[in-house]
Symmetry: C2
Subunit: 524 residues, 2 copies
């Protein structure tokens, strides 16, 4: 067993202590946690060993979503600490989102002792079975002297390009048994470069003169690769697009913009009519979110050719740079920013909110958007805002926004986080507000309170139904109205209500200057 300097010769550790020391040695120094009985030795080890920041969530969906938001901004994984199968289950929806975001997470799940599990105590569940569908790597630790090595393998697996959830299940006896061995970090499995042939092939496709769509995802959405993608587009007339939802896009004034595939299949098909070639750069072939009777599930023409420049696990930035060079594409200047139109006044509309965001977004803000139906204007309308990163709901499992904001704020404490949060989805993980208050995170939460599942009303109309009372009742969350200012106060977060654009602008500007969290309920 390889050990490193974290363990002194002759030092006796239990399994939990070797696990904590190994995580720290691997650079994992933040743990989002909701522990239970079976994790007490792990908690005790965190206590004895300095260096791990522990952030408590009052529900596991907060924990896993925060770990996602953290890694999106820190570009390295946090650990989670969950309690048994049901604790994992509560965190699965946001692990699903993390899987779609290709976020590295070291997902640690305390569980029954190895010899207790066959006795089928009340809390015993199929922990491995639930973990596997969201994980790139799943292992149940078996022995205290191996759990350090298990942890190093988990970190390596989580960070293997493009990133994913590595689930390490931790029976309690593996934690409390003596003989823990601290493991050295394993070599990173970084993104392989695409072959020269692939670059040449892509250059030929792009020179063919066919109307071509370049679909960018993952790390291709950072500042430098986007600039290279724009070189390619300028030299070949290829169109650039990203999926509707992305883990992180670097954008704003001084950066290249890129549009998204519209959510609506009809709008997307109209937008992509005439495309003959689709070239994928770390992206899957675009697909509509849902199927609709008699409509194509693909937003591009059925007979378009679909090519791959780079798979998600490959080095996307390198591929774009080399392809631009192969095309002899010169650098292109970033288009001049249009000066924001200033603060919007009057009635609250999606466009008005986007305008005010453009005017007031702090430099280097992190925008977490889970705005669902109302936010249609937010992304296009903030293209000239101050430079910022834009984080989205990647897997469609609502309830990601507030936890992502928690994690991002922990990862980049010198930047303001702005959470644009629909009310219906916000309720899924409303417990996040408490963690924001406890950790005094610099988050401005804007709750878009339409008091209905508005997107579903649109969908119901889309299926041709003329909704009656039963249907409307199932899509209306305004009886009774949620009072977000009281909910926030109940969890220690100050807040206020805005009912027009003037009061919104005042509150938004004030909130962004504060230390700690503030919630604005924007009635829409």
């Amino acid at each position: 067993m390889q050990t490193n300097q974290s363990q002194q010769p002759g030092q006796t550790l239990n399994g939990a202590e070797s696990l904590v020391k190994t995580l720290l040695a691997c650079g994992v120094d933040t743990c989002f946690a909701n522990p239970g009985t079976s994790e007490m030795h792990f908690v005790a080890a965190l206590d004895r060993i300095p260096g791990m920041r522990c952030v408590l969530g009052l529900f596991e969906g907060v924990v896993t979503g925060a770990a996602d938001g953290y890694a999106r901004m820190a570009d390295k994984p946090a650990a989670t600490l969950l309690h048994c199968g049901p604790g994992l289950a509560n965190g699965l929806a946001n692990l699903h989102n993390a899987r779609r975001a290709q976020t590295p997470i070291v997902n640690i799940i305390g569980d029954q002792a190895t010899y207790h599990r066959p006795l089928d105590a009340p809390l015993t569940a199929d922990t491995e079975g639930w973990a596997r569908p969201v994980s790139v790597w799943t292992r149940t630790a078996q022995r205290a002297d191996q759990v350090g090595a298990d942890a190093a393998a988990a970190v390596q697996a989580a960070c293997a390009a493009p990133g994913g959830v590595a689930s390490l299940i931790l029976p309690s006896d593996v934690c409390w048994d003596e003989g823990g061995q601290v493991a050295a970090p394993l070599p990173p499995l970084s993104a392989p470069k695409v072959s020269p042939d692939a670059i040449e092939q892509a250059a030929r496709w792009l020179r063919s003169g066919q109307p071509t769509l370049l679909v960018l995802a993952g790390t291709a959405l950072r500042e430098a690769p986007l600039a290279d993608a724009h070189r390619i587009a300028a030299a070949t007339d290829a169109r650039l697009i990203t999926p509707m939802s992305n883990a992180r896009v670097s954008r704003g004034r001084g950066r290249f913009a890129v549009e998204r595939v519209p959510y609506s299949g009809d709008a997307a098909r109209a937008r992509l009519a005439g495309i003959r070639q689709v070239i994928l750069v770390g992206a899957p072939p675009p697909v509509t979110f849902f199927a609709y009777p008699g409509k194509s599930p693909r937003p591009y023409p059925e007979d378009a050719q679909v090519h791959v420049l780079a798979r998600p696990e490959q080095d996307l930035a390198d591929a774009l740079a080399r392809l631009a060079d192969a095309l002899g594409a010169p650098a292109v200047p970033v288009p001049d920013a249009v000066a924001p139109a200033g603060i919007a006044k009057g009635a609250v509309t999606s466009e008005a909110v986007a305008q005010t965001l453009s005017a007031l977004l702090p430099e280097q803000a992190v925008v977490v958007e889970e705005s669902v139906s109302f936010g249609r204007a937010f992304y296009p309308g903030t293209v000239h805002a101050a430079p910022h990163d834009w984080l989205q709901l990647t897997g469609g499992a609502i309830g990601a926004g507030l936890p992502l904001a928690v994690g991002a704020a922990v990862a980049v404490p010198d930047r303001r986080v702005v959470a644009l949060q629909a009310d219906g989805s916000g309720m899924y993980t409303v417990q996040s507000l408490w963690t924001m208050a406890r950790e005094q995170l610099d988050v401005t939460v804007v709750v878009l309170a339409n008091r209905k599942y508005a997107i579903l009303l649109g969908e119901l109309a889309g299926v041709g139904a003329n909704p009656g009372k039963t249907a409307l009742d199932m899509l209306d969350i305004g009886n009774p109205d949620l009072d977000w200012v009281k909910l926030a106060a109940g969890m220690g977060v100050e807040g206020a209500r805005a009912v027009d654009m003037e009061s919104f602008a005042d509150l938004f500007a004030m909130a962004n200057k504060r230390k700690g969290p503030f919630l604005i309920e924007l009635v829409i």
Copy 2:
């Protein structure tokens, strides 16, 4: 395809309509729902077809826990309506509890269209894989003309003794395609009776003179079988016990009481020392909740014989009655009730709360207890309260209490529901309060606000750790304090805070007389 009178000859239905009509024909007339896009045809069908009561939850854990509470009190299943794999995932923890409670639930999960699933759209997940560990029956519907039959099979599977979760996954095209066929109910798979040999064998064990423990669970905990169990105990000196946590116990004045296996392994082993025979009546062999280093996971002596009178799926009431007859055991009178000591005064203790509950619990109340550490005196201390049913957290997945209260209140609207709810676990499914307000359910919520994960502090001490700041911070939820009165107000539920037993008694008496919900934050 067999059809019944719910479908008129020549009537054309889509799959969703045939599903709703089949559920109604099978006696399933309540649906706890959190629908999404893929369920819009189902929602439209619920709209067009009268007879199904739809109750909306703002989070799937509310939906599944409410379906559990409903069936525990209605003795028949409700349907759920969940949205895709992640929606199911959010409901899994309470489905785990329902599995442990052997609760019949028709668990319906809308999902991607059959032909859309292979395209791996963002929300696509391993819905079947997540459902299977909590389900007695899992099926993905394939065709509109078969989904009626699928639904009838799901109801049959859910109700097959002892009851369980039947998960029916519902691709959206199966809903919207025409050709739905309403299926007739399938014959119930009721509990088989134990064999005469098993009764005779058990009678011999009981006559052996060995110290014997009779472990009762499931339907053995209703009023009549408990009376027969007491006949057996009186005739043979056998001791009666139930698991620590049970789906439903009928108890209070005029009914026979039964003690529970203590939560603490040490206390349980002390209580059961000297037992030579364990006879199981619908119960698994008792096991401690967790393992602890060097301690037995069994609360009874390791060398005791374990026998089975009846398996959980057998007719437990019949088995107890026949066994009592075989033993020639005469009827025994219910012990005289001790008059409650009256309302407790002064400091808030577990015993004082139990005393006040005893004095003030309404006749035929439904008590939902998720009191975790503070509630140790509640069960023993309310044995002489007015007749009531006692519902518990059966699977250890916290966050069951408030949803169970929602479901119980929907099932038995003429009875008061009293939810004794620890604060830490209450936060898991705090969204339940909104459904209580919306449906104006007669629930008195008593939040036991100790502002810490108190049970974990005890566990941490139990592992010999002297907790430092990191550990204490992970177990303390009092920074910031949760304000439950504000949280309730934010979701439309009136509430007030009690800080001593006098104010608690006043609020509790007042709340139980109201229509609709009321929340008391009891600071402990």
